[in-house]
Symmetry: D2
Subunit: 304 residues, 4 copies
């Protein structure tokens, strides 16, 4: 029997005074002010037990972690056509994302890079009557917490500075792979990224991926097969250009965001979230990556 509380306490102790914590993302002005010393871990076992340490109960901006949740919402509603509009292959090219989109004629490499998530956003905007509200309600219901909300200041800050996303959305539009207008889709996209959750809420939100598609409330939200697919995507594409490194060092499907959050999971076993706002040079939480490496080393949990 593993003493999980001891494991995460040890990791927290090992890392909490680390001087090299990376850099807080500055391109979204509103996020730049977050205290770099925040550091929380939350672990949720498949049997419902939870373990937590540090700032597990503070809200963080989930950012790209939201891409997994929009995909989970869209996939059952649009199961056949979705994969015609976005591929499932790793992007493998950090420095020229739009180039890849051009070469591949407007089909994003996968739904976890920005261009792909914008296509998923477009799909939800088409399918839903009140896209932002309905997606927010979906997240609230998955986590069973009606207090989850957008941070409008962050959403606005992203819209004011999200030129790369406007470039990507317009390029998708040029290729006919965006059906709604750019501003509407990006308004949705900037809001999904601006959702705030705690580490505890994140392990709940991702529980369905570890649990064959059923969330903590035992509602079946996606099929077991869809959960498997999303896990495969997280493993191969969840960490920007560091996906291979993460698979290699940690060996769990997961997703990071520039707010410094990471959620990972082992099917049938657990979900785990870590938050430390400082990012490494590839855009993933520096301490978050280390914490998960230590966790899988200490517990020998890995899909490999």
């Amino acid at each position: 029997m593993i003493d999980y509380q001891n494991v995460i306490n040890t990791i927290h102790q090992n890392l909490k005074d680390e001087v090299n914590r990376g850099v807080v993302a500055s391109y979204i002005p509103e996020l730049a002010g977050v205290d770099i010393n925040n550091f929380g871990i939350h672990l949720r076992l498949i049997n419902g037990e939870t373990y937590a340490t540090g700032d597990w109960d503070k809200k963080l901006s989930i950012q790209s972690i939201s891409k997994v949740l929009t995909l989970a919402m869209a996939l059952p509603m649009y199961p056949e056509n979705l994969w015609q509009r976005v591929d499932v292959e790793p992007s493998g090219n950090p420095f020229n994302h739009l180039s890849l989109l051009e070469l591949e004629k407007g089909i994003p490499r996968n739904p976890l890079i920005n261009a792909g998530a914008i296509v998923i956003a477009d799909i939800l905007v088409t399918l839903l009557d009140n896209p932002k509200e309905e997606f927010l309600n979906y997240v609230r219901s998955v986590v069973d917490d009606p207090t989850i909300n957008f941070n409008e200041t962050v959403a606005n800050s992203e819209r004011m500075t999200g030129y790369n996303n406007f470039a990507a959305a317009n390029l998708l539009k040029a290729y006919g792979n965006l059906h709604n207008d750019v501003d509407t889709v990006l308004d949705f996209y900037f809001h999904q990224c601006a959702i705030e959750m705690t580490c505890e809420q994140l392990t709940k939100a991702f529980f369905m991926f570890a649990n064959h598609g059923a969330c903590c409330q035992e509602n079946v939200l996606i099929s077991a097969s869809q959960a498997k697919r999303i896990n495969a995507l997280m493993l191969t594409c969840g960490f920007y250009d560091e996906a291979g490194e993460f698979a290699f060092e940690v060996g769990l499907p997961g997703k990071s965001g520039v707010g410094g959050g990471i959620v990972a999971l082992l099917p049938n076993q657990f979900t785990i979230s870590v938050w430390s706002p400082g990012l490494n040079k590839r855009g993933n939480s520096l301490l978050g990556m280390k914490a998960l490496e230590q966790f899988t080393t200490m517990t020998k949990h890995s899909i490999f």
Copy 2:
């Protein structure tokens, strides 16, 4: 002595019944309706003599030809800094323009590709109080014709469908190489492209490049050295991915537009314009290219 009227009549005769005339640009809906049978030639010698044939007196949408005129207006006002914001090298890569812009960190390859012309537009928006009016007045004054105007319907049509330009402008913005807001700059850009001129007006507009910087009205608008530079740019970059082919077959500096117009010139000798709306697969007027090849073959005029 060359009998120029005879030369252009012969060319017109040779080509006017050509069945293979290319395709009229369809991505700007408003341009798609232009009659593909239009075909005009206008020649203006340095001594003021002019020769014309066919539809030389009908208005065409100058489109990318305008890029040379915005550059000519901006260069004397911003001579030192302009070349820090846009390079002077051929782009050499037709199918992934944004890729090149990414690889080169937001510095467009030259001012005659879209991204480069958008930077020049941004410069004019910064320098001018009423950018659209003042640029239009500049063109009117160069051509000495106050009736030249924007076609607002075309400008609007371009804005509604110009997703690639929105993508490029946002990418420039992301790299800090666009100082004004995207919508303002593109509004200017779509208007400059939507100017209408006749073949006769085009040979007047480009006269300064053949005449050491002085226009037909003998106003010196740019220095001889600036005229030389713009000629060099037209030769190496004026024909999308067919610049080398044009230098090779025609041997004159020039610029084409998707409206089917081409203007070319031989320094100290003449300016010539051709209009036929059908484009070859590289986006240049199919008959226009042939007409200029025949012209330089028959007259032996070439910079080489």
Copy 3:
């Protein structure tokens, strides 16, 4: 309890008369003559039980499957420096491999693409006295079968037509990431690819990756941590540009070769090999991919 013999028999039955079997690789003339109707499956459980059907006992050219075995041999001998010479990220760009190598200054994306495997070959050429013999002996010892051999005709055929590999090796050399001479390294590389094995031998050869580093003979060849790393690489990079699709549809680490073989595995559970020489358009065995999809669907075995 799963009746594995029944499972693989069913799969064999489902697919053996399939008309659409893809195309046998033709760029290596010697391989072009292989009978497209070959179809074999071999399954080896962690407890030693084996199940087989079809042409499981015929020799096939292992081709790129060998890349996993050279990596397994090199990694324990050169553990620290290896990852400085080759990265661990998916390549994600099927159509311009050399481009990626140029952009990344001679560091191949991962050891399972050709350029990366050539670097691993170079490492073995440096470390071993008689590289070809010693590697062959390594494979024989892993499989416990001294009859395994190179097919010299195939190796020769690859050398005569392997221009892309010569291009890659020379580019590596230009960047200083190939320490031995091109011909020596490629002679080794063409031989490793020209090893022949049966499906049964392949499940033995890959047993160590499912078994924490110990082969069937219980010799520990690589550490558990190294086995984990190689599994992560196979999952993210083992199927050319179809790695994401394979992770998605099959959910097992594995490696394919243009000879039509595929080996896959579930850690702690089994290794499985399939052989059908016809390839899909991405270069992986068409029936092999289908067989493994059916296998994981029927048995619910997957790492996700």
Copy 4:
């Protein structure tokens, strides 16, 4: 009347003590030892007058300048098919040449980049019985000087270190655009680059391009149209990734080599060569570029 001797003396005087002379090419070991202080200029007017200063009579390694001469030799022998195997567009992409070759499926962008010159070499190897001797005799005859020769040490040095050229040649071979074997073609190519000439010989060698195809000995070697085509290519592609800059600052067709030589010309007027071994960061002679800029500024000679 321009006092040409005075012009080139002034340029020589202006530049001869320049401290910043760039760097001598080091990747060909044999060239690395050349004295960076060499500096010569030679001017040959269309009427036969010549002017010279500095080290105009010392031998330099012509390197890429040879590409124009092989093209001039091949074009009349293979006029129709040549342009199917190599294009005429600027390459515009300094840092990933092989990438471009991949994207364009083995058709080099133009005959003045390495890959294109290797295709021209392949054409000569096919057409000539004794390619190296016959090409050398061609150059000797154009210059009317039987003492011109290969420097075998340089040729050998290039072969030992020319990995990028081996990569390019093999990639061409993979695409079917190299008909002879790689080693034979590159042996020819390394020899053509290793020809040595003086500045005086270079202005003779390029005289045909200024003189409608007839060399100093009045033999017509290429047609006027072919001369025009080669001039267009030199203008748009003659200076690596600085072609636009050179057209812009100098305004003459020309070709540089990593030996520090540059030859340029004005049709009907003159040929001029400059030699200074130090290169700027784009691989062109640093003082050579400055000398030609000063020459065209002082004499107002330019095609624009």
